[in-house]
Symmetry: C2
Subunit: 150 residues, 2 copies
Protein backbone atom coordinates (compact mmCIF):
# COMPACT_ATOMS: atom_id res chain seq x y z
CA UNK A 1 0.00 0.00 0.00
CA UNK A 2 3.05 2.28 0.17
CA UNK A 3 3.88 1.88 -3.52
CA UNK A 4 3.67 5.25 -5.17
CA UNK A 5 3.92 4.06 -8.76
CA UNK A 6 0.85 4.38 -10.92
CA UNK A 7 -0.05 3.89 -14.54
CA UNK A 8 -2.77 4.78 -16.96
CA UNK A 9 -3.90 7.83 -18.87
CA UNK A 10 -5.08 10.80 -16.88
CA UNK A 11 -7.88 13.22 -17.77
CA UNK A 12 -7.25 16.96 -17.78
CA UNK A 13 -3.73 16.72 -16.43
CA UNK A 14 -1.82 19.98 -16.44
CA UNK A 15 1.64 20.62 -15.06
CA UNK A 16 1.31 19.84 -11.35
CA UNK A 17 -2.47 19.63 -11.29
CA UNK A 18 -5.80 19.10 -13.06
CA UNK A 19 -7.66 21.84 -14.89
CA UNK A 20 -11.30 22.53 -14.08
CA UNK A 21 -13.27 24.27 -16.81
CA UNK A 22 -16.35 26.21 -15.69
CA UNK A 23 -19.64 24.93 -17.14
CA UNK A 24 -21.51 28.06 -16.02
CA UNK A 25 -21.64 30.93 -13.54
CA UNK A 26 -23.79 31.96 -10.58
CA UNK A 27 -25.93 35.11 -10.94
CA UNK A 28 -26.97 36.22 -7.48
CA UNK A 29 -27.64 39.38 -5.45
CA UNK A 30 -24.83 38.17 -3.12
CA UNK A 31 -21.70 40.07 -4.07
CA UNK A 32 -19.33 39.75 -1.13
CA UNK A 33 -18.45 37.23 1.55
CA UNK A 34 -19.50 39.51 4.41
CA UNK A 35 -23.14 39.46 3.28
CA UNK A 36 -23.37 35.79 2.29
CA UNK A 37 -24.97 33.25 4.62
CA UNK A 38 -22.73 30.48 5.95
CA UNK A 39 -24.83 27.73 4.37
CA UNK A 40 -27.45 27.74 1.65
CA UNK A 41 -30.39 26.99 3.95
CA UNK A 42 -29.56 29.90 6.24
CA UNK A 43 -31.23 32.69 4.30
CA UNK A 44 -29.87 32.62 0.74
CA UNK A 45 -31.73 34.68 -1.85
CA UNK A 46 -32.95 32.99 -5.01
CA UNK A 47 -30.21 32.82 -7.61
CA UNK A 48 -29.64 31.83 -11.23
CA UNK A 49 -27.15 29.47 -12.73
CA UNK A 50 -26.30 30.42 -16.32
CA UNK A 51 -24.76 27.47 -18.16
CA UNK A 52 -22.37 27.49 -21.09
CA UNK A 53 -24.01 26.55 -24.41
CA UNK A 54 -21.59 23.66 -24.97
CA UNK A 55 -22.95 21.66 -21.99
CA UNK A 56 -26.63 21.97 -22.96
CA UNK A 57 -26.93 18.26 -23.84
CA UNK A 58 -25.91 17.31 -20.31
CA UNK A 59 -28.69 19.40 -18.74
CA UNK A 60 -31.73 18.00 -20.51
CA UNK A 61 -32.95 15.73 -17.69
CA UNK A 62 -32.82 18.33 -14.91
CA UNK A 63 -36.36 19.19 -13.82
CA UNK A 64 -38.15 21.87 -11.82
CA UNK A 65 -38.77 20.72 -8.26
CA UNK A 66 -35.71 18.46 -8.08
CA UNK A 67 -32.98 18.87 -5.48
CA UNK A 68 -29.49 18.68 -6.96
CA UNK A 69 -25.92 19.08 -5.76
CA UNK A 70 -24.14 22.01 -7.37
CA UNK A 71 -20.34 22.09 -7.25
CA UNK A 72 -18.66 25.48 -7.55
CA UNK A 73 -15.12 26.83 -7.61
CA UNK A 74 -14.97 29.38 -4.78
CA UNK A 75 -12.79 31.76 -6.74
CA UNK A 76 -12.35 34.33 -3.97
CA UNK A 77 -11.01 31.80 -1.44
CA UNK A 78 -7.53 31.71 0.11
CA UNK A 79 -5.93 28.41 -0.91
CA UNK A 80 -3.06 28.60 1.59
CA UNK A 81 -5.30 28.18 4.64
CA UNK A 82 -5.18 24.88 6.58
CA UNK A 83 -6.86 25.90 9.85
CA UNK A 84 -9.71 28.30 10.62
CA UNK A 85 -12.13 29.47 13.26
CA UNK A 86 -15.31 27.60 12.20
CA UNK A 87 -17.99 29.90 10.74
CA UNK A 88 -15.55 32.83 11.01
CA UNK A 89 -16.20 33.16 14.75
CA UNK A 90 -12.98 34.07 16.59
CA UNK A 91 -14.45 32.72 19.86
CA UNK A 92 -14.52 29.14 18.55
CA UNK A 93 -11.31 27.09 18.71
CA UNK A 94 -9.26 26.82 15.53
CA UNK A 95 -9.91 23.62 13.55
CA UNK A 96 -8.25 21.90 10.61
CA UNK A 97 -10.02 22.98 7.41
CA UNK A 98 -10.93 19.44 6.38
CA UNK A 99 -13.27 19.24 9.38
CA UNK A 100 -14.98 22.52 8.35
CA UNK A 101 -16.92 23.89 5.39
CA UNK A 102 -14.73 27.00 5.19
CA UNK A 103 -14.34 28.31 1.61
CA UNK A 104 -10.65 28.85 2.41
CA UNK A 105 -8.92 25.49 1.75
CA UNK A 106 -6.34 24.06 -0.70
CA UNK A 107 -8.93 23.22 -3.38
CA UNK A 108 -11.90 25.57 -2.77
CA UNK A 109 -14.70 23.44 -4.22
CA UNK A 110 -18.11 24.48 -2.91
CA UNK A 111 -20.81 21.85 -2.45
CA UNK A 112 -24.38 23.17 -2.42
CA UNK A 113 -27.66 21.30 -2.19
CA UNK A 114 -30.21 23.44 -4.05
CA UNK A 115 -33.76 23.11 -5.33
CA UNK A 116 -34.50 23.87 -8.98
CA UNK A 117 -37.37 26.35 -9.21
CA UNK A 118 -37.19 27.53 -12.85
CA UNK A 119 -35.61 26.29 -16.06
CA UNK A 120 -35.36 28.66 -19.03
CA UNK A 121 -32.99 27.33 -21.69
CA UNK A 122 -29.47 27.62 -20.31
CA UNK A 123 -30.66 29.50 -17.20
CA UNK A 124 -31.77 27.63 -14.10
CA UNK A 125 -33.34 29.39 -11.11
CA UNK A 126 -32.46 27.80 -7.74
CA UNK A 127 -33.22 28.15 -4.05
CA UNK A 128 -30.65 27.77 -1.22
CA UNK A 129 -27.50 28.67 -3.15
CA UNK A 130 -25.20 30.84 -0.99
CA UNK A 131 -22.45 31.29 -3.61
CA UNK A 132 -21.45 34.81 -4.67
CA UNK A 133 -22.36 36.43 -7.98
CA UNK A 134 -19.95 35.31 -10.70
CA UNK A 135 -18.84 32.11 -8.95
CA UNK A 136 -17.91 29.43 -11.53
CA UNK A 137 -20.04 26.27 -11.63
CA UNK A 138 -18.02 23.10 -12.22
CA UNK A 139 -20.55 20.25 -11.89
CA UNK A 140 -24.17 19.32 -11.12
CA UNK A 141 -25.10 15.92 -9.69
CA UNK A 142 -28.37 14.31 -8.60
CA UNK A 143 -28.94 13.70 -4.89
CA UNK A 144 -28.74 9.93 -4.37
CA UNK A 145 -31.72 8.23 -2.80
CA UNK A 146 -31.63 4.80 -1.19
CA UNK A 147 -29.99 1.94 -3.09
CA UNK A 148 -33.29 0.79 -4.58
CA UNK A 149 -33.91 4.15 -6.24
CA UNK A 150 -30.63 4.42 -8.13
CA UNK B 1 -28.78 39.16 -14.55
CA UNK B 2 -27.38 38.87 -18.07
CA UNK B 3 -24.36 41.00 -17.34
CA UNK B 4 -21.24 38.94 -17.93
CA UNK B 5 -18.74 41.38 -16.49
CA UNK B 6 -17.10 40.46 -13.22
CA UNK B 7 -14.34 41.76 -11.04
CA UNK B 8 -12.13 40.66 -8.20
CA UNK B 9 -9.12 38.43 -7.74
CA UNK B 10 -9.51 34.78 -8.56
CA UNK B 11 -7.87 31.82 -6.81
CA UNK B 12 -5.92 29.26 -8.80
CA UNK B 13 -6.78 30.72 -12.16
CA UNK B 14 -4.94 29.15 -15.06
CA UNK B 15 -5.40 29.90 -18.74
CA UNK B 16 -9.01 28.92 -19.42
CA UNK B 17 -9.60 27.14 -16.12
CA UNK B 18 -8.72 26.54 -12.48
CA UNK B 19 -5.98 24.19 -11.33
CA UNK B 20 -6.73 21.51 -8.75
CA UNK B 21 -3.74 20.24 -6.80
CA UNK B 22 -4.08 16.74 -5.29
CA UNK B 23 -3.86 16.63 -1.48
CA UNK B 24 -3.47 12.83 -1.47
CA UNK B 25 -4.15 9.59 -3.32
CA UNK B 26 -6.42 6.57 -2.89
CA UNK B 27 -4.78 3.22 -2.14
CA UNK B 28 -7.30 0.48 -2.87
CA UNK B 29 -7.52 -3.08 -4.20
CA UNK B 30 -9.80 -1.65 -6.95
CA UNK B 31 -7.67 -1.19 -10.03
CA UNK B 32 -10.08 -0.87 -12.95
CA UNK B 33 -13.54 0.48 -13.63
CA UNK B 34 -14.95 -2.91 -14.61
CA UNK B 35 -14.43 -4.28 -11.09
CA UNK B 36 -15.46 -1.16 -9.14
CA UNK B 37 -18.90 -0.92 -7.56
CA UNK B 38 -21.18 1.86 -8.85
CA UNK B 39 -21.45 3.52 -5.44
CA UNK B 40 -19.41 3.25 -2.26
CA UNK B 41 -22.07 1.45 -0.25
CA UNK B 42 -22.52 -1.26 -2.90
CA UNK B 43 -19.65 -3.51 -1.88
CA UNK B 44 -16.48 -1.40 -1.81
CA UNK B 45 -13.42 -2.92 -0.12
CA UNK B 46 -11.72 -0.99 2.65
CA UNK B 47 -9.26 1.52 1.26
CA UNK B 48 -6.60 3.99 2.39
CA UNK B 49 -6.21 7.64 1.69
CA UNK B 50 -2.57 8.73 1.82
CA UNK B 51 -2.30 12.49 2.26
CA UNK B 52 0.50 14.82 1.21
CA UNK B 53 2.68 15.99 4.13
CA UNK B 54 1.97 19.66 3.38
CA UNK B 55 -1.74 19.36 4.28
CA UNK B 56 -1.18 17.65 7.66
CA UNK B 57 -2.33 20.70 9.64
CA UNK B 58 -5.71 20.59 7.92
CA UNK B 59 -6.33 16.96 8.96
CA UNK B 60 -5.87 17.20 12.71
CA UNK B 61 -9.56 17.25 13.66
CA UNK B 62 -10.62 14.24 11.60
CA UNK B 63 -11.54 11.36 13.93
CA UNK B 64 -12.09 7.61 13.73
CA UNK B 65 -15.80 6.81 13.49
CA UNK B 66 -16.74 10.03 11.67
CA UNK B 67 -18.46 10.09 8.30
CA UNK B 68 -16.87 12.57 5.89
CA UNK B 69 -17.28 13.59 2.27
CA UNK B 70 -14.23 12.84 0.16
CA UNK B 71 -13.86 14.64 -3.16
CA UNK B 72 -11.70 12.98 -5.81
CA UNK B 73 -10.56 13.76 -9.34
CA UNK B 74 -11.68 10.77 -11.43
CA UNK B 75 -8.57 10.79 -13.54
CA UNK B 76 -9.58 7.96 -15.85
CA UNK B 77 -12.86 9.60 -16.88
CA UNK B 78 -13.84 10.80 -20.36
CA UNK B 79 -14.45 14.57 -20.13
CA UNK B 80 -16.14 14.88 -23.52
CA UNK B 81 -19.23 12.91 -22.47
CA UNK B 82 -22.55 14.78 -21.96
CA UNK B 83 -25.02 11.88 -22.03
CA UNK B 84 -24.78 8.29 -20.78
CA UNK B 85 -26.73 5.13 -20.07
CA UNK B 86 -27.12 5.38 -16.26
CA UNK B 87 -25.04 2.84 -14.33
CA UNK B 88 -23.50 1.70 -17.64
CA UNK B 89 -26.61 -0.35 -18.48
CA UNK B 90 -27.34 -0.15 -22.23
CA UNK B 91 -31.00 -1.13 -21.58
CA UNK B 92 -31.72 2.11 -19.70
CA UNK B 93 -32.50 5.27 -21.72
CA UNK B 94 -29.68 7.75 -22.27
CA UNK B 95 -29.68 10.67 -19.81
CA UNK B 96 -27.83 13.98 -19.57
CA UNK B 97 -24.76 13.49 -17.37
CA UNK B 98 -25.77 16.18 -14.86
CA UNK B 99 -28.70 13.98 -13.83
CA UNK B 100 -26.37 11.00 -13.27
CA UNK B 101 -23.36 10.10 -11.11
CA UNK B 102 -21.38 8.88 -14.13
CA UNK B 103 -17.62 9.44 -13.75
CA UNK B 104 -17.61 10.56 -17.40
CA UNK B 105 -18.52 14.29 -17.36
CA UNK B 106 -16.85 17.65 -18.16
CA UNK B 107 -15.27 18.03 -14.68
CA UNK B 108 -14.96 14.50 -13.27
CA UNK B 109 -15.11 15.28 -9.56
CA UNK B 110 -16.10 12.25 -7.50
CA UNK B 111 -18.14 12.74 -4.34
CA UNK B 112 -17.93 9.93 -1.79
CA UNK B 113 -19.42 9.61 1.68
CA UNK B 114 -17.06 7.39 3.66
CA UNK B 115 -16.52 6.35 7.26
CA UNK B 116 -13.10 6.81 8.85
CA UNK B 117 -11.98 3.53 10.43
CA UNK B 118 -8.25 4.14 11.07
CA UNK B 119 -5.94 7.12 11.30
CA UNK B 120 -2.18 6.57 11.19
CA UNK B 121 -0.31 9.83 10.59
CA UNK B 122 -0.93 10.84 6.99
CA UNK B 123 -2.79 7.58 6.21
CA UNK B 124 -6.51 7.26 6.83
CA UNK B 125 -8.35 3.95 6.45
CA UNK B 126 -11.93 4.30 5.15
CA UNK B 127 -15.01 2.23 4.43
CA UNK B 128 -17.34 2.73 1.40
CA UNK B 129 -14.86 4.36 -0.99
CA UNK B 130 -15.35 3.00 -4.51
CA UNK B 131 -12.56 5.06 -6.16
CA UNK B 132 -9.78 3.27 -8.03
CA UNK B 133 -6.23 2.84 -6.74
CA UNK B 134 -4.19 5.96 -7.44
CA UNK B 135 -7.17 8.33 -7.75
CA UNK B 136 -6.20 11.86 -6.62
CA UNK B 137 -7.96 13.28 -3.54
CA UNK B 138 -8.81 16.97 -3.85
CA UNK B 139 -10.82 17.74 -0.69
CA UNK B 140 -12.36 16.34 2.50
CA UNK B 141 -15.41 17.95 4.14
CA UNK B 142 -17.54 17.13 7.19
CA UNK B 143 -21.09 15.89 6.65
CA UNK B 144 -23.39 18.70 7.77
CA UNK B 145 -25.91 17.93 10.47
CA UNK B 146 -28.98 20.02 11.21
CA UNK B 147 -28.59 23.80 11.54
CA UNK B 148 -28.27 23.60 15.33
CA UNK B 149 -25.23 21.32 15.12
CA UNK B 150 -23.10 23.50 12.86
Amino acid sequence: MNDDTRQGPESGRDEGGYVLRPIGRVRSPLVDRASAPRQGDEGSPEAWIVFEPDVADGLRDLAVGADVLVLTWLDRADRDVLSVHPRGDARTPVRGVFDTRSPDRPNPIGLHRVRIITIDGLRMGVRDLEALDGTPIVDVKPVLGGIGER
